[in-house]
């Protein structure tokens, strides 16, 4: 009963770990860590990853994942930037263009995986390369000097927190609600739990898979727009390594690689946990070499814990 609770309540155990970590860090770095400034920077840098993680969580619940999200982040910002800078396109239209491109990419991913039957890893891996190439073509060495209206979206502040944080909160709350309370989104748990039984329960598995990829790509597109708005620049290197960070965060947050588990709120907590560790490393002036090693260890521990708990449940 205890183990079951813990697995079901990864949200609970993760939240507790985060709290403990914060307390420890307050003791070790009393002047640097528990400040409004530090927290608001932390949340700001967390927001992009989390928005993408929400989409990734939905995919992992249904037993799939998407390696192309990092490239989509670069692409949507790049496309919007390209249109605004080289063609003087109105910022709203540029944003719509960036998002539409992302939706299209998601649809292609979904269609090829669900209908044509291509393995998700191979398909999204290939798409990762293709979209990154497109992003490079659009943003070249980088685009700056965006119109003020565009920058307003990513850089305005509300109650001291910069805009992307609010977008993140809104997206997390909205999807949390949808996944918990609508029949449509709950079906993803069934698809991930037993795809065959899901089909035989009357669930239109293929259609829903396509939707999942569209949602993931759209959220990545939104994240990309927010990122380039926030930076005031469209970088061609945006989002490199994002997909693995997000998958790590989502697994930390309770998803299982085999599907059927995970809560949206867990994605937020997973990303928060990783951001805290990152923050700890920076404040602690731990050299960059160690960052990679530590994040790798975190991933192994997360996945290992996931496997161990599953095996325990099966006994």
């Amino acid at each position: 009963m205890q183990i079951k609770e813990r697995l079901q309540d990864r949200v609970f155990s993760l939240a507790a770990s985060i709290l403990i970590l914060c307390i420890i860090m307050t003791f070790i770095f009393p002047t640097q860590f528990p400040t409004v400034e530090n927290f608001s920077q932390l949340l700001l840098n967390l927001s992009i990853d989390t928005i993408v993680a929400v989409g990734m969580m939905i995919l992992l619940i249904s037993g799939m994942f998407d390696l192309s999200v990092g490239s989509i982040v670069a692409f949507s910002g790049g496309l919007a930037g390209y249109l605004m800078y080289y063609h003087d396109v109105n910022f709203l239209i540029a944003i719509v263009a960036g998002l539409s491109g992302s939706v299209l990419i998601g649809f292609v991913n979904g269609w090829l995986i669900a209908i044509a039957g291509i393995n998700p890893m191979i398909q999204t891996l290939a798409m990762m390369g293709i979209v990154r190439g497109l992003a490079l073509m659009l943003s070249g060495a980088g685009i700056q000097n965006f119109p003020y209206n565009f920058i307003y979206i990513g850089q305005s502040k509300l109650l001291g927190l910069q805009a992307p944080v609010w977008y993140m909160i809104f997206i997390v709350l909205m999807f949390s609600f949808l996944v918990n309370r609508t029949v449509f989104f709950r079906r993803y748990y069934f698809i991930g739990g037993n795809e065959r039984a899901a089909k035989l329960s009357g669930i239109q598995v293929e259609k829903m898979k396509i939707w999942a990829f569209v949602i993931s790509a759209t959220l990545a597109g939104i994240a990309g727009i927010l990122l380039s708005s926030r930076l005031g620049a469209a970088l061609s290197t945006s989002g490199r390594g994002l997909e693995l960070r997000v998958i790590t965060a989502v697994i930390l947050g309770g998803a299982s690689l085999s599907g059927g588990f995970g809560k949206i709120f867990g994605a937020l907590l997973g990303a928060l946990f990783m951001a805290l560790i990152n923050n700890l490393l920076i404040i602690g002036r731990v050299s960059g070499y160690w960052q990679e090693i530590i994040l790798g260890i975190v991933l192994i521990v997360a996945v290992g814990l996931d496997q161990w708990l599953i095996r325990k449940m099966e006994k």
Binding site: T31, Q32, N45, Q144, Q291
Partner: protein, 342 residues
Amino acid sequence: MHKYILFVLSLFVLCCEPPPRYESSNYTTNLTKDKFVTTNEVSPTEEYVMITTAVNLPLYVSHDQKAFLQWGKKMGVRTSILGPSEWDVPGQIATIEQVIPGKPAGLLINGTDPGIASAIKKAVAAGIPTVVYDSEIPNSDRHSFIGSDWYEMGRLQGERMASLIGGKGKVACMGILGMENMEAGFKGLQDALKKFPSIEFIGKYDDKANVEIAARLTADLLAAHPDLAGIAGFDSNSGPGMALSVKEANKKGKVKLTTVDAEPEHLQLVKEGVISFLVGQKRELFTWLGAQFLYDMRHNTLPLSTNDARAGIVPIPRTVITGSIEIDLSNVDFFLQNAGKK
């Protein structure tokens, strides 16, 4: 019920703080606040932080970081080197933003991409002395920039190449296309070559800072232009890549190679005679002098007024060009010995 929600929402919106507009002047006449932090004592715990990407890149480690650490030891202050190990510019930005609240004594930032401008602005606005090195970042409000003059680096290569090939023949160049400093280098090269009407410049090519691509490009060029006289390289990996293909095509000495950077592999190739000329950067100066500027700003070493910080005066050079190092067979040994000691 609806009215109440509307009221709360409007309060919310009113709290909205728009981002600063660029049109407004950055030099305010606010005389009540210090623009940057100064102090009179030197504390051993005062910290100078270098933030870069690709923190493990050998070029950075053996030049920039080495000099920076030496400086810190000499001055008796703390130095830290932070940043992602990949070329992850958003990661560098996140690092800068998370270091700012800790208010270090000074920030030494590698100018990797114009996108980091907003983060640098935040640091400056927070009152931290900030120096950008290697490549200039426009619109960043940085207190100082110290780096090489890439136009000059291109010009030096052009002039040397012209004399190597006897003033006539076909010349190409390669580097990362689209990067501001390299484009300046390309221009310097082309302008220098223009003075020689018998030299034909056949084009600039993108090797994406990758040795294999540079090698393949060179092989393609050699095949397409059997009478190619010389190639100039502009990023660290151009040299080794070009040299590889030239050796494999048995054209050593027949096709003249010049390039940038003076790492052990480049020096070795000069010794072998495959590369004729290197234009090196004085990277150690970037960080040593850069750190020293930060120190001087913080400790009011050389005041230009009664209170520079309050008056809004930046008491360090705004832009420093370090000049380049020219290496060929005549002086390569001095550098090889040095490389061995590293």
